[in-house]
């Protein structure tokens, strides 16, 4: 039997980009992630990670396969969820990267392209300004650096727990109870990133 039983960690594969790094980091921290495109496995998992590199349009796969619904209902039951990069953007109502593809709508608003700065994508290590009382960001120093690579971003929200500046402020991390997302790549952000993933695994 594979890890779809209790205590399981599902890493959602929606055929976009490369999941190797995320899986490797989770394994390094002692977790046993199951990479899956099966909504039943996602629905039964006790934690769900939605990684993401690539184009917002790829998230269409989630709706087509019933994964959007599986994630929605599991988060409603209180299952911890972590969206990474495009995975965070997908939690919103949509992105101007793909107007005809709806996001999950778990969070209000749309992600938009960086408009006021010449170099896009935003690539590299940028600092995090951390808001207090975040379970996800616990133990991460104010001003710690994280690795970003993206062209679209979410504006600041009530639930934003980390803020980054690039041609204006945007949401680097968000946390609404059990629903969490990071715009940067914790699996590529050195010690700070591993701390964040460990915090999520502890939930």
């Amino acid at each position: 039997m594979s890890a779809a039983s209790s205590g399981s960690l599902a890493v959602v594969d929606y055929r976009a980009g490369n999941l190797t790094s995320v899986v490797k980091a989770l394994r390094f921290l002692g977790a046993a992630p199951e990479v899956t495109s099966d909504p039943d496995v996602v629905a039964r998992a006790s934690k769900v990670v939605l990684p993401g590199v690539g184009h917002f349009a790829a998230t269409q796969f989630l709706r087509e396969r019933g994964l959007t619904e599986a994630i929605w209902s599991s988060t409603k039951r209180g299952t911890p969820f972590l969206g990474i990069c495009v995975g965070l953007q997908w939690m919103f109502e949509g992105s101007t990267e793909a107007h005809d593809v709806a996001g999950a709508g778990i969070l209000k608003g749309k992600c938009e392209r960086f408009a006021t700065i010449r170099k896009v994508p935003h690539v590299g290590w940028n600092s995090l300004s951390i808001r207090p009382n975040s379970r996800l960001m616990e133990g991460v120093d104010e001003g710690a650096y994280a690795y970003f690579t993206h062209s679209y971003r979410a504006e600041l929200q009530t639930d934003t727990v980390a803020v980054t500046e690039y041609g204006g402020l945007f949401t680097a991390a968000i946390e609404a109870d059990n629903i969490m997302g990071v715009q940067f790549h914790p699996e590529k952000s050195g010690k700070a990133g591993l701390t964040i993933l460990k915090n999520f695994l502890k939930l």
Partner: protein, 259 residues
């Protein structure tokens, strides 16, 4: 604030580091996995592994090297050398690379950039350009020419135009090596780097010519580079990326510190 990146580069042949940065205190200075982790701990912002064997027979060795190297690495990891097809790229990603770098193969078949970008995202594709200033021209920077095959083969392409095409095909970054500056330790070609950085909206990584910390400050300032490849500088008095970044910070360059 977005910081300027210091990227450690390892040249690998038959699974061993043959050039690039080597720490004297490592027992096995030629093992790419050990060196990559040492550089990450030494404050490097990214690791690039260039396979200079790049023969078909050695691909298995490379995959094994990439797998071993990526295992303990939690910063961005780029692999280049001998990636000629989408399948080559897929295998390298599967082995644990976050980005791939293409050079000669992209010049021979520019569609390769589109293909890899579509499958793995633009952020995963670095187009490496070896450029040499134009000869017998009033504007040697504008007329700088792209060379392939490790700098042996002139292509007739202008560096700036090729960089623009790479961007339009979906490259996520440009790795620009100045053939004139490479190996001199007299500093980067800041003019060439700036001309490319201003011509495209994607990040430009400068390479070739570093001899001291001031050279990095110059290429991040005048050269408008977003990142720079550090290789031989670590042989000449600077022990690791952290030390280099501390010097850069005193020169007013935003860098990731502590790291």
């Amino acid at each position: 604030m977005l910081t300027k990146r210091i990227i450690a580069c390892l040249d690998v042949k038959d699974g061993r580091v043959v050039k690039g940065i080597q720490f004297v205190d490592l027992i096995d200075a030629g093992d790419p996995a050990a060196l990559a982790v040492a550089h990450a701990e030494g404050g490097a912002d990214e690791i690039v592994l260039l396979d200079i064997t790049a023969t078909h027979e050695q691909r298995g060795t490379l995959m094994d090297t990439v797998k071993r190297t990526s295992r303990g690495l939690f910063i961005p990891f780029t692999v280049g050398g001998g990636i000629r097809t989408l399948d080559d790229a897929s295998a390298v990603f599967d082995a644990g690379a976050d980005k791939i770098s293409v050079n000669s193969a992209a010049v021979a078949c520019p569609e390769l950039i589109d293909q890899i970008g579509r499958c793995f995202g633009a952020q995963a594709v670095i187009v490496a350009i070896d450029g040499r200033r134009g000869r017998e021209t009033p504007d040697p920077v504008k007329d700088a020419e792209v060379f392939t095959a490790g700098g042996r083969k002139p292509t007739g392409l202008r560096v700036i135009e090729w960089a623009r095409e790479a961007e339009s095909r979906g490259a996520g970054e440009i790795l620009l090596t100045s053939m004139d500056a490479d190996g001199t330790r007299n500093g980067f070609d800041c003019e060439l780097t700036a001309s490319v950085s201003q011509a495209v909206a994607i990040p430009v990584i400068a390479s070739g010519g570093a001899g001291n910390a001031a050279h990095f400050a110059e290429v991040f300032g005048d050269g408008k580079a977003d990142a720079a490849l550090a290789a031989s500088i670590f042989h000449f008095g600077v022990s690791d990326a952290r030390e280099l970044k501390k010097e850069l910070a005193t020169l007013g360059i935003p860098v990731r510190l502590p790291c």
